[in-house]
């Protein structure tokens, strides 16, 4: 009976409301980086069309289909555009099951700022989903949500976040080098023990303590793809407020894991095998996700579903994944081979070959055009005999007769190219003058048209972000448009420096932290020496530095040793002799002064070994000063920082490299060891 059915559904709903509050989500509609530069200069990334639908619509559709009832959209760069878009979309209709609030501020510089604002405004009441405005997914998170809730119930407020990963082995199409991660997890409780970006790292370091977590199942996984979807408890926002230095999710995760024993917070993960989840984090991912959408990997989010419910967007789907919106006209002899989406009112000339391509609305494409893996946005004019391969062509671009675009070209908004010009692989043309960082490019005019462009060769490495940034110096054509870098554009760039430059600097942010930390420690000690600050205060200062830079205890000690041992070099220059070195370091002055600092950090036998190992490392680098090692060891021994067992154990350790064996055969050292042995025997004898 219908009546029965109606009644049944209502109490079920009421029950749900009693039991749990409506699910909320925080959507960050700003990437805080400039990987889409210069396209993102004219249009925020969240509004860029992916298969003719704005990316943010995919994200909102995903959130709505997982049952989110209230979404806070945070925007910064070009917030008015995003707001306008959302107000026109179906999400802001009164009947929408997902209430969307748009919150804008020019002050957001990172994810951290956004979450601090969430906390300040007390927006979230219970667990919420945290996503970026460029996540495309059809993953059902309800199971993960339930697991998260259960964990929270069992141990009050211990687990603060559940990250969602998709299983995808290396070589998977949606994996992008930029986002490669290594995760160490507890196999049973699914707790994350270690999380590291693996990009361009040759060596990986795992802190020892993660192996002592007391679990008998332990997994280190490289086959996971971070979907950038996380289930957070309200504490996450509070933690961001408490730790004002957290900028990105990466900072947050690493910070929590390092300080786990102090704060007692844990992060868990949920690995899904089916479903699709990817973040359009750069243009290569844009290519991949677009083609996946058209190949229906993200079912039920497919082009013909018209989930954004826009007028006139409904398209038909036919054989070989060819989608056509209404009003498409195709010239005689033109072929749409496979995986093609053509927007409304687009006119295509005769004898064109189109494959794996998305064409937006109101485009005009001439005769004999070949398009392969081209992403052509709205109102683009393409003349006859043009060839485009794996390129992005933004709104209002005019491509004149006979132009050839090779792989990975980008034509940003309003660019005019041609006629008869071949663009090399990876060319980026924009109406904006590139910012300072690209200033070193030598301007060369390749064609005698109005359109000239300059080129930046340094970036042409095979990494994902290798889309070159180039510019058009066409102040002749469009006076007043180019040449003054927009100060606002910084909002997209800011923070992200790190992530943006990853392609060119193989060093991971972690290494940088260590270096900065080392400099800070050096400064602290120097100041301590100059101003005669007490050791207790020094320890305090070093401890606070440790938290600021997320440095583990072991690393602190290693760095401390290194700083102290290199202190004379720093002061007197690297050329000082051994005698000078030891006289500078040893006398009561330095080592003794800082003995309490050492004692604070060197407590367990393991610490002693680490301490000795790092001493050895320092001296291995400076062969000429080996003689000083003995003296250092001696004084450290006398100051009771190290015990003789420790030294003996270190000495007997089978060393791996020839050089450290050589070090051990050093005359002075042998003597010292002998002396130690004797001293031990005699002390035993005394007893």
């Amino acid at each position: 009976m219908a009546g029965k059915a109606g009644k049944q559904s209502r109490p079920r709903k009421a029950e749900k409301d009693e039991e749990e509050q409506p699910l909320q989500a925080v959507l960050v509609a700003d990437s805080f980086n400039r990987r889409f530069f210069p396209i993102s200069k004219d249009q925020p990334r969240a509004l860029l069309p992916l298969a003719n639908v704005s990316m943010i619509d995919y994200t909102l559709e995903f959130l709505t289909s997982t049952g989110v009832q209230e979404t806070f959209v945070f925007c910064c760069w070009m917030s008015s555009k995003i707001k306008e878009h959302l107000q026109k979309s179906k999400w802001c209709r009164p009947t929408s099951p997902n209430v969307v609030h748009v919150i804008t501020s020019d002050l957001y510089r990172s994810l951290g700022d956004v979450l601090r604002d969430v906390d300040a405004k007390a927006l979230v009441r219970s667990d919420f989903l945290l996503v970026y405005g460029d996540v495309v997914s059809n993953i059902d998170v309800s199971q993960a949500l339930q697991e998260h809730k259960q964990r929270r119930k069992m141990e009050k407020n211990v687990s603060v976040m559940t990250m969602i990963f998709k299983e995808s082995p290396p070589g998977h199409k949606t994996r992008c080098e930029d986002d490669d991660i290594i995760v160490a997890m507890d196999g049973k409780s699914k707790r994350i023990l270690h999380y590291q970006r693996a990009q361009a790292l040759k060596k990986l370091h795992f802190p020892m303590n993660i192996f002592h977590s007391g679990s008998d199942e332990f997994e280190i996984r490289f086959d996971l793809l971070d979907c950038h979807i996380s289930i957070c408890s309200p504490q996450v926002a509070e933690l961001f407020t408490d730790n004002f230095d957290y900028q990105t999710k990466n900072d947050f995760v690493r910070g929590l894991l390092v300080n786990e024993e102090i704060l007692g917070n844990q992060i868990h993960m949920h690995v899904t095998k089916d479903g699709y989840g990817a973040r359009v984090s750069n243009l290569l991912m844009y290519d991949t996700v677009s083609s996946d959408t058209i190949r229906r990997w993200i079912y039920p989010i497919t082009p013909e579903a018209n989930f954004a419910d826009q007028e006139g967007q409904s398209c038909t789907h036919s054989r070989h994944n060819v989608y056509r919106e209404p009003g498409v006209s195709l010239g005689h002899g033109s072929q749409m081979e496979e995986n093609v989406l053509i927007g409304r009112n687009t006119v295509i000339g005769a004898n064109c070959t189109i494959s794996n391509t998305v064409i937006g609305a109101n485009c005009v494409i001439g005769d004999n055009v070949t398009l392969d893996r081209a992403y052509i946005w709205n109102r683009v004019h393409i003349a006859n005999d043009v060839k485009v391969k794996q390129s992005v062509i933004c709104d209002n671009v005019e491509v004149k007769h006979g132009v050839v675009l090779n792989e990975q070209c980008v034509l940003a908004y309003n660019v005019v190219v041609g006629p008869d010009i071949t663009l090399q692989e990876g060319t980026v043309l924009s109406m904006h003058h590139p910012d300072e960082e690209d200033d070193e490019d030598e301007d060369e005019f390749l064609s005698d048209d109005d359109v000239g462009y300059s080129k930046d060769k340094t970036k042409q490495k095979g990494s994902c972000s290798s889309y070159l940034i180039m510019c058009i110096d066409d102040d002749i054509m469009f006076p007043g448009l180019a040449l003054n870098p927009d100060p606002e554009s910084d909002s997209e760039s800011e923070v992200s420096e790190g992530s943006h430059d990853l392609g060119s600097h193989p060093a991971s942010p972690e290494l940088d932290d260590v270096k900065v930390f080392q400099n800070e420690v050096h400064g602290t000690l120097q100041r301590g020496l100059d101003e005669n600050i007490s050791c207790d205060n020094l320890v305090l200062e070093i401890n606070s530095l440790k938290y600021a830079y997320n440095i583990s205890l072991k690393e602190v000690m290693q760095i401390l040793i290194r700083v102290v041992l290199e202190f004379p070099f720093q002061q007197q220059g690297a050329q000082i002799s051994t005698a000078q070195y030891s006289s500078h370091l040893l006398p009561v002055s330095l080592l003794k002064k800082w003995a309490p600092v050492f004692k604070n950090y060197v407590k367990r036998p393991q610490d002693q070994m680490d301490c000795l190992a790092s001493m050895e490392e320092v001296f291995l680098e400076r062969e000429t000063h080996w003689a000083a090692l003995v003296k250092v060891l001696m004084s450290v021994y006398q100051l009771e920082i190290l015990e003789e067992e420790g030294i003996m154990r270190w000495f007997k350790q089978s060393s791996t490299t020839g050089k450290s064996q050589q070090l051990r055969r050093n005359q002075g050292l042998l003597k010292f060891i002998q002396w130690l042995e004797e001293a031990e025997e005699s002390s035993e004898g005394d007893e």
Partner: protein, 352 residues
């Protein structure tokens, strides 16, 4: 204002129904059966009739048509929704005619003479206001809902007429109707069921488990073995997603193979389909009848981007391969479907 509240409540319900349709749809691999979709649609239409503002039958039909177009557009492969809308439109026509006093019979018979004399569209006639129309229409929709509730039982009641002792029956995938049909027969008779698993969603496995629980002797075979096993089979009994106007089927992928194999071996093919699956659609290009799902299920890893993966869900089975339809009102030959169609739907409603 209670009136406005009602309106927003109604449109909220419609929206949520639409989004649900868009997301899950039905057919292979979905959690909802089409019977449930049919019931939900009808219940929603009853709500629209009760809550929307309309003065006469013409207005009500216009409202229902408008919402109906949106519902069918939301999930074009789900024909049940459109069918139920047509049924309700037909009910409104009948109730209007009854209120006006003219008999249903004369209204239904579209004689050539009448077509010539009536001139313009009969829509003009729906403008009259009747106070009891609303109550009557709701009453009739309630009857329709009762009919929908009983369809599966009505079909399975006929099982004993078709399944005899020690027969070997083949089926494919999982159809709730066929499941009930076989279970009903199993209460009295012993027979053997062979289930084609219907990869990649493998609903056949579920079907086999469910049949086993009722002590039916069950064998699961891969889809590729259908032809090989067919020679042993006495009868093929399948379900379908839609019965098309020409008596053909749109059914789960693999059914065409099964039907061809049955034809080759002259094995009778029986289709269990409740009346609400009868759709006035006609097959055009076979491809338009398939719904393509995510290919994730068939390719566990992305291989190369050069490889194209397709995962169609439905097959078109031409009517000449089908022996008999069993619906809740009895058994019919495929050639008779057109007649049922004209009884169920008004010709003007074929296009919403």
């Amino acid at each position: 204002m209670p009136g406005a509240d009602k309106e927003t409540d109604l449109s909220e319900r419609i929206e949520s129904f639409l989004s649900e349709l868009k997301r899950c749809g039905s057919g292979a691999g979905s959690l909802r059966g089409s019977a449930e979709t049919a019931r939900e649609t009808t219940a929603l239409l009853r709500r629209i009739t009760a809550q929307a503002r309309w003065g006469n039958a013409g207005e009500l039909m216009e409202i229902i048509r408008k919402e109906g177009r949106r519902m069918t557009a939301a999930q074009p492969s789900e024909t049940t929704v459109g069918n139920m809308i047509r049924r309700v439109l037909k009910i409104i026509r009948e109730e209007y005619a009854r209120s006006r006093g003219s008999s249903e019979e004369t209204d239904q018979q579209e004689s050539l003479h009448k077509l010539l004399t009536s001139g313009g569209s009969s829509e003009d006639n729906f403008r009259q206001h009747f106070t009891h129309l609303k109550a009557n229409v709701i009453e009739a929709i309630n009857e329709l809902l009762t009919e929908l509730e009983g369809t599966t039982d009505n079909i399975s009641m006929q099982a004993l007429e078709h399944i005899h002792s020690n027969e070997v029956i083949m089926t494919i995938g999982r159809s709730r109707t066929v499941e009930a049909f076989l279970k009903d027969a199993a209460r009295k008779r012993k027979f053997h069921v062979i289930v084609a698993e219907c990869a990649p969603f493998c609903q056949g496995h579920e079907m086999a488990t469910s049949l086993c629980k009722e002590d039916i002797e069950t064998t699961v075979i891969p889809d590729a073995a259908i032809f090989a096993v067919m020679s042993r089979v006495n009868k093929v009994i399948i379900g379908t997603q839609t019965v098309l106007a020409n008596g053909g089927l749109r059914a789960v992928n693999g059914t065409h193979t099964l039907a061809l194999a049955a034809k080759h071996h002259s094995t009778p093919l029986i289709v269990c389909a409740p009346m609400f699956k009868l759709s006035p659609q006609v097959p055009d290009t076979p491809y338009n009848h398939t719904k393509l799902k995510s290919v994730d299920t068939i390719l566990y890893i992305h291989i190369l981007s050069k490889v194209n993966a397709h995962c169609p869900v439905f097959d078109y089975v031409p009517p000449e391969l089908i022996t008999l339809f069993i619906s809740n009102i009895g058994g019919n030959a495929p050639s008779y479907i057109y007649r049922l169609m004209s009884e169920l739907y008004h010709p003007e409603d074929h296009e919403l």
